[in-house]
């Protein structure tokens, strides 16, 4: 058996992140001075971004015998993932420091999770996809349990682990059925075989159902959404910030890889399933969010509804729909980072700013932070001139363009219901008077600066959405050529 060295350049960012993560792990255990973890992590993210940009080529590159793919979609999603991980690290530092959680483990686990996401984003093969997914999931389970003396966090971690493992099982079972049917684990090859037609349609659809159930778990869409609110609420806010942002990019990527790259010939079969899941998510997410008084839990339900919206884009099965989906997920990650970032930022002096009450009258205490939060809430509600509006518009366009006008009507009706609880947050911020013991927030310069950039980006991309749309369109064109 002859052995050829594979081309490493497409996977250079992954290799770099892996090396640096190991380095941080080592330096954390060898040296007394833990101060290096933070700058090293930031260095890793910035350099990884540089490598990704520099090694980016317009063509699709395969390596590791077709296990790994590097295309424009992967590059763009990875860049957003670096940015969001960077934001997570910066936002959560004061929070973790105050609670004594700022240990090497946090950085290492976050970076391993990032690596898992990168592998998922670039997966071209069931095996690499699964490895990436497990790397991400295992890191996240541990992160949720980071605050080990908190019963709530431990419970959340256990729930997450059990349900996550179950979902992985579903996914694997679906994969094995498809493998049995097509004899390949490589996604493009599978698409070719399916295009030619298979004998046993029944087994194929059966496998597809399991696959989609697994994906549904990872995306957190109804009816596989049960874990989302508990984990979002139970985990320390800084970890919720992470769980709620970057992994959505990876979940979007594997959905695209599996359903569009691998199973596109089966589009009629998965379309219906996605439509049902999307509508259920919109209904459950938006209706359940109304009743929440804990803002983390409310945002968890709002995530479910956002993921439902995202699925609608993929469901339309058109190029416009995939582009809209990508636009939506990037916009969502920006909004989610900002809003959870503010929750983390306001949780100070031993106080968790978790309940809506903690935000009362923020406008009279700190008008700028209140304005940022209001921008993010209006954006999530899908109002112009914020980026959330264009994300929704793009999805609606793709739905109407593909002939699903009624789904578009259903979607906007649920976003009307959704508008209520976002408005309620704005009401709490602006209309209510603050509690007597409400703290005055002094600025932490680096965090506040990045939060401001984050919030203003949501506004600016709403006024000038074209650059992001161009980027997503380009990435999809290069990927699906």
């Amino acid at each position: 058996m002859n052995f050829t060295v594979p081309d490493f350049t497409p996977a250079l960012p992954e290799i770099f992140v892996l090396g640096m993560t190991c380095l941080i792990l080592l330096s954390d255990s060898l040296f007394k001075d833990r101060g290096w973890n933070y700058p090293l992590t930031i260095f890793t993210l910035v350099v990884a971004a540089a490598i990704t940009v520099l090694t980016s080529v317009p063509q699709i590159q395969f390596t590791f015998s077709g296990q790994f793919v590097d295309d424009a979609m992967a590059d763009v999603l990875k860049l957003v993932a670096y940015f969001s991980t960077l934001a997570v690290v910066i936002y959560s530092r004061p929070y973790l420091l105050e609670r004594g959680l700022l240990k090497g483990e946090f950085f290492v686990l976050v970076l391993f999770a990032l690596l898992g996401m990168m592998v998922m984003i670039s997966a071209n093969h069931f095996i690499s996809l699964y490895i990436g997914l497990e790397l991400l999931s295992l890191s996240l389970y541990a992160l949720v349990a980071l605050q080990r003396d908190s019963a709530q966090a431990t419970e959340a971690a256990m729930k997450y682990f059990v349900l996550g493992a179950l979902a992985s099982g579903f996914l694997l079972y679906g994969m094995s059925l498809l493998y049995g049917l097509t004899g390949t684990l490589e996604l493009p090859a599978m698409a070719q075989i399916l295009q030619a037609g298979v004998q046993n349609e029944m087994v194929l659809v059966f496998g597809l159902v399991f696959l989609i159930a697994g994906l549904g778990f990872k995306l957190g869409v109804a009816p596989f959404h049960m874990w989302v609110p508990d984990i979002y609420q139970g985990a320390p806010s800084a970890v919720t910030l992470f769980v709620g942002s970057a992994p959505k990019l990876a979940a979007f990527a594997i959905t695209m890889r599996l359903l569009v790259d691998g199973l596109h010939p089966q589009v009629e079969n998965w379309q219906g399933m996605l439509a049902v899941m999307a509508v259920l998510s919109l209904a459950i997410g938006n209706l359940a969010a109304i009743m929440q008084t804990n803002i983390k839990r409310m945002l968890a339900y709002s995530t479910i509804s956002h993921m439902g919206f995202l699925l609608l884009g993929i469901m339309s099965g058109t190029f416009a729909g995939y582009t809209a989906g990508m636009f939506y997920v990037i916009a969502y990650v920006l909004m989610s980072l900002g809003s959870f970032g503010l929750v983390v930022y306001l949780s100070r002096n031993g106080l968790e700013a978790e309940n809506l009450d903690d935000f009362r009258g923020l406008n009279s205490r700190n008008p700028w932070l209140a304005a940022l939060m209001a921008i993010l809430m209006f954006s999530m509600a899908g109002l112009p001139p914020f980026v959330g509006f264009y994300a929704k518009l793009a999805i609606l366009q793709s739905l109407v363009g593909a002939g699903f006008v009624w789904l578009a009507v259903v979607a906007v009706m649920f976003s009307l219901i959704g508008a209520f609880y976002y408005l309620r947050v704005v009401k709490v911020l602006y209309f209510d008077t603050p509690k007597a013991d409400a703290p005055i927030y002094t600025a932490i310069p680096d965090v506040q600066a990045l939060l401001s950039i984050n919030g203003l980006a949501v506004l600016m991309l709403g006024i000038m959405p074209q650059p992001l749309i161009t980027l997503c369109t380009y990435a999809m064109q290069m990927t699906l050529q």
């Binding site: 406008n363 109002l383 264009y390 518009l393 109407v400 006008v405 209520f420 009401k427």
Partner: protein, 496 residues
Amino acid sequence: MIEGIGLLSLAIWVPIAAGVLILITGGDKNADGQRTLALLGSVLGFLVTLPLWTGFDNASAAMQFVEVAEWVPAYNIHYRLGVDGISMLFVLLNSFTTILVVLAGWAVIKVRTGQYMAAFLIQSGLLNGVFVALDGMLFYVFFEAMLIPLYLIIGMWGGPNRVYAAIKFFLYTLLGSLLMLVSLVYLYFQSGGSFEILAWHRVPLTMVAQTLLFIAFFFAFAVKVPMWPVHTWLPDAHVEAPTGGSVVLAAITLKVGAYGFLRFILPILPDASREYAYVIIALSLIAVVYIGLVALVQSDMKKLIAYSSIAHMGFVTLGFFLFNPLGIEGGLVQMISHGFISAAMFLCVGVMYDRVHSRQIADYGGVANTMPRFAAFFMLFAMANAGLPGTSGFVGEFMVILGAVQVNFWWAFLAATTLIFGAAYTLWMYKRVVFGAIGNEHVAEMKDIDSREFVVLGLLAVCVLGMGLYPLPFTEVMHTSVENLLAHVAHSKLAY
């Protein structure tokens, strides 16, 4: 015309820029500077709209002062602005009202003054955007975005039940506009990938499509107007909003709904409009008669004026769906006139509220004894609200009634009852509040209006009388555009 940036852009962005500037200046310790800045911004915002009228070509039905720039090329969305005879006056009305609102809130708003002023200025810019946008999506962006400042205004500076009113107002209007959003996207595909409103005027549509679009657009605009039976948010919003909020709400935002009928429903869906005109006319007549009666029994002055607004707006929609020039021009004149009168009425209530802190009719009586100058102004505006000849309130109503007679005598008859009901509820309220012996010690302590209030009410009095005595400058502006619109509506879109 200034090179590079057009007048319409200035009309939108000058107030918004002023608003942002005020927000930057910080908290309440700069309140005086913020007030001055707000006044400067609103006056400047009004001045840049004046050339629109002086430079307007009355003989042309085409869009004027057009500006086009690419905005979101991916969806073919353009920054496309322009005014015709239908929309031009509303830009002026809106910019003018902003000055009044800034003056009205000058001394009354003591907390978060900067945010208050900024919200109104930004709101004013967004409203101008609604009236001048010629791209469907640009229109929608302004149409939705203007909800945000108004929501904050009602919720932050409103009365005791303000949260309920603000959320109700927001959700009600959002319900309508979200259906419109889907319709806009649908029209985009029907027209081969364009959001240009004028291009939509020529897109052929089947009757089924027109009917569905009619329902969606109707909801969006009927909620804004508001038409019976989707009017229930308005009394709540008006009662709870601060004076300035009520003024903007009544004088301008209600007009957005009616404007939408003329810009979208009539020209884009002519066949559906003719087919379902009887529905609109029936709803309008219900608004005129039934809501008129409802106004009669109100004990809260603001609520009374709110119901009277709904009745007056019923006249507007009635006029639009008569499909004759008198009806549509009458409706437009009524909109402008109602902009002046309702603003004046709310300001009058605001003047009294600032002194006694009550809106209940029963808490007043004999105000004329302590505030004679104010009572004179209030008298004029009450008469105008009742449609007295010589005031602007008469012109629009008379034109609509004349237009209705041409079509159906009984419609005209029912519409004309407003002259009775209007007089009844307005003058009865006026009598109870202003005449008679001094009702209580609060009224006895009331001071007459100061010079700032005198200026505000005086300006409005000039407008109301001017428009009532010599309405030609207003009607000649709209005439050509209305004729053009009617020619368009008469042309079926089904024949293709």
